[in-house]
């Protein structure tokens, strides 16, 4: 199974880096949104709360542009049937899940420094900020993997992915924003449970997604 997952993951990355479509779109969106924001703000200082909201809005919509691609591509290129026959359901889910997690980490790694640079933001608790960004990104990727599989079956309509994901991800965004604000202004207490919530959410939703995936993936 491990080999199968690695093989499938490698295949997904090879296909992605051949066209780099999802990655290009997501990063281009993030860069354009951040630069536009910085340009229109014209150096206006925002409060830590507004900065956190803007950061997570950009991360969320950048993710929405790319995360569904992993399943939509299989349906568009008509390779899903081949994948269904040759690779076990669990391996498909785990490899797609890992792909989305890595993809999300790339987006976070690009968006966050850009955002801090263009909006000239000072982070008071840098470690806590990085942990929040990673935990929030993981939660987004965990939740959107199963939604992407559903959307791919519905014809991969772009707006449907955002509509389905947004309400499910609101608790994550809610907690991530308050936690990021704490990291920016240094007010977050050491025992803040936000990170625990984000990691627990990721674990919980991943487990449910893993159980549900076989129903979505296998056509009867």
């Amino acid at each position: 199974m491990g080999e199968e997952i690695l093989r499938n993951l490698r295949k997904d990355f090879l296909v992605e880096f051949r066209s780099r479509f999802a990655l290009n779109v997501s990063i281009a969106f993030a860069v354009i949104a951040t630069v536009s924001l910085s340009l229109t703000a014209g150096g206006t200082p925002f409060s830590p709360l507004v900065q956190s909201i803007l950061l997570w809005i950009i991360i969320f919509f950048s993710a929405m542009n790319g995360l569904s691609h992993i399943f939509v591509r299989e349906e568009d290129q008509a390779t899903s049937l081949f994948l269904r026959i040759t690779v076990s359901v669990d391996s498909v889910f785990i490899s797609k899940f890992l792909y989305n997690q890595i993809f999300m980490m790339i987006i976070i790694a690009v968006v966050t420094p850009l955002f801090l640079f263009f909006l000239q933001i000072h982070v008071a608790l840098i470690c806590y900020f990085i942990c929040t960004a990673i935990a929030g990104g993981m939660a987004i990727a965990s939740c959107t993997t199963i939604v992407a599989a559903m959307v791919a079956k519905a014809g991969g309509r772009g707006s449907l992915f955002s509509i389905l994901s947004f309400p499910l991800l609101l608790p994550v965004l809610w907690v991530s924003i308050s936690s990021t604000r704490g990291a920016l202004d240094g007010s977050s207490p050491a025992e803040d449970a936000s990170l625990v919530f984000l990691l627990a959410f990721s674990g919980f939703i991943s487990a449910i997604s893993f159980l549900l995936f076989r129903f979505v993936w296998i056509e009867e």
Partner: protein
């Protein structure tokens, strides 16, 4: 239909008029809020029934996915029916809550954690209806819709129980609270209980009607297919 089911559905005819009479004539008005407080006998049961309907839709979805031999018919359609009723009741909860908020807090909307939670639950179920529409004509509509309803059901505890207790709320202490005490006068408590039962029987009644309509629709479709 079992005698129990029939009893629950018929009880609506007794419980609902009784709840209305008790709410307006028997229960005392609250000390500070006065007669405005009587909206509690409609707002709280509506909220309860919407959560109940969403839970039923989630449980039916689990049953649909587990029922490999398809022993039970149209479980996905029934879970859709329950989610529809839940959505309607949630909208009524928001409307009655807004009226009450205007009378007690001075504005229709205050972004209170409980208000925010209800809106987010509404968004989740509106998204479910969008997904169902997107899957129109797709053979996997039932499976995918049910999977999303299960995801929605597992998000419910966060919105219903966790968020309003984590964040500071304008709402009074809930019936399930840290002190394990119900802060209501005896007659008010009784009226609320009867009202909750009345609205639950209303849900059972509507759900039963919708499922009967579904059976008729399916039977008609089968007849046309036979022709």
């Amino acid at each position: 239909m079992t005698i129990l089911t029939r009893g629950v559905i018929k009880s609506f005819y007794i419980l609902m008029p009784l709840a209305i009479i008790m709410a307006f004539l028997w229960a005392p008005s609250a000390a500070v809020l006065g007669d405005f407080s009587r909206i509690i006998y409609f707002h709280v049961p509506l909220a309860w029934v919407s959560v109940l309907a969403f839970l039923v839709s989630g449980v039916l979805s689990v049953a649909y996915l587990m029922d490999k031999k398809k022993r039970y018919r149209w479980l996905d359609e029934k879970s859709y029916n329950s989610a529809s009723i839940g959505l309607a009741f949630a909208i009524l909860t928001v409307i009655t809550g807004s009226l009450w908020a205007k009378l007690t807090w001075g504005s229709f909307w205050n972004w209170d954690p409980r208000e925010t939670s209800v809106v987010l639950i509404l968004l989740i179920y509106i998204a479910y209806f969008s997904l169902r529409s997107g899957l129109s004509g797709n053979e996997q509509r039932g499976v995918i819709g049910s999977s999303y309803l299960i995801l929605a059901m597992i998000m419910l505890p966060f919105f219903v129980f966790l968020a309003p207790r984590i964040y500071d709320s304008l709402h009074p202490a809930t019936i399930i609270n840290a002190d394990k005490r119900i802060y209501l006068d005896g007659r008010m408590r009784m009226t609320l209980l009867v009202s909750v039962l009345a609205f639950s029987s209303l849900y059972a009644y509507i759900f039963h009607l919708m499922n009967r309509m579904l059976s008729v629709k399916k039977a008609t479709e089968d007849l046309h297919a036979g022709d």
